[in-house]
Subunit: 209 residues, 2 copies
């Protein structure tokens, strides 16, 4: 296996945490987004979509999305399970993963990429250029507040998003919540269940990488 | 199990196709989005996010996202497998599912919901109202063209998105491609591999529901 990472970006961090939680050591190559290496001809020969993370499996398949990398690793290295054991757990993990991506990750990314000068004409990742749309940042702020409400409601009832166990859903949500610092957004202080969950995950060795 | 469906919307259709491909018959209740029933107090007591599809599992869990419903059903009813058998297949299925959602489903939905008068102040699904942002429709048109390029490149090499077998990834992409009719967008005629894939899937009994 071969893993293409970028130490500064949230999406590769999700895969990096997943690999660490599985206790795996995988040969890794750094792709510097700061230097634009993801857009180089050399990297686009590996992933034409020009995004990280990427994993090349032992079967030779190029997996370009976090969800695909997680599914591969969880099936190949089942312990500890990070995508649930029972059908009900598996459903809950991917439900909360999906909620975290759509209601957390997307508005946080939209808020950053549609306002920050570093992303002028780069409002979306990938090979195409897209102009910034400042209204998306305003909408993003409102959506992120709603996401924090969702997290607090769930984590008041459950130690982790999918239930009693730490899973992929927590990795997804944790990395986005942590990344929201770049848009100067933190968990509301009164959301004590979410703050406790965030600190608990932040103390895991996988979160230090 | 209990399934909350809506016969006119693309996201419930994805779950409906998945259920049919598993050969299952599940007690189903229709939620009329045309009548705004998803926003009713009665339905929000079931899903506070006010979205369909929803599945209540036999364990009593409420699953509110397509990915969660699929993961539950695929683990509980493994045959025929719709999310891959081997680790490599499982990775490819969720990679292509993810690509179809982010690069196909999102821009198609954005183009519709940010232009059509039926979605004034309803530019996103869910409990919150959001104003339309017309620039998203312009961006959507460009992104959808790119999505069709991706599909054609892949389907020129592979009979289905994840490989030799029909999977969840095909359901996700097929439903979005079909739904693009509402924004008057069709597969480019010259994309012969995608047209053949679309017709092949459209002939399956699950696509008639």
């Amino acid at each position: 296996m071969l893993f293409y990472d970028c130490s500064t970006a949230p999406n590769p961090r999700r895969a990096r945490m997943f690999i660490a939680e599985k206790g795996l050591t995988i040969e890794t190559r750094e792709v510097s987004i700061a230097k634009g290496e993801q857009l180089s001809d050399a990297f686009r020969a590996i992933n034409p979509n020009a995004t990280v993370p990427v994993m090349i499996t032992d079967e030779g398949t190029t997996l370009t999305e976090n969800l695909g990398i997680a599914a591969y690793l969880d099936a190949r290295f089942p312990e500890p399970p990070l995508m649930g054991r029972t059908p009900d757990e598996r459903g809950r993990v991917l439900m909360w993963h999906s909620i975290a991506e759509h209601k957390g990750g997307l508005p946080i990314a939209e808020t950053l990429r549609n306002t920050h000068p570093a992303f002028t004409d780069r409002a979306l990742p990938g090979v195409e250029n897209h102009a910034q749309i400042p209204e998306l940042a305003q909408r993003g702020t409102k959506r992120i507040a709603h996401f924090f409400d969702l997290l607090e409601t769930r984590l008041t009832d459950s130690p982790y998003l999918a239930g009693d166990e730490f899973t992929l859903a927590d990795i997804t949500a944790f990395v986005f919540v942590d990344f929201a610092r770049v848009i100067k957004t933190r968990i509301p202080q009164e959301n004590s269940a979410t703050v406790a969950w965030y600190e608990k995950i932040g103390a895991r060795p996988s979160a230090q990488l």
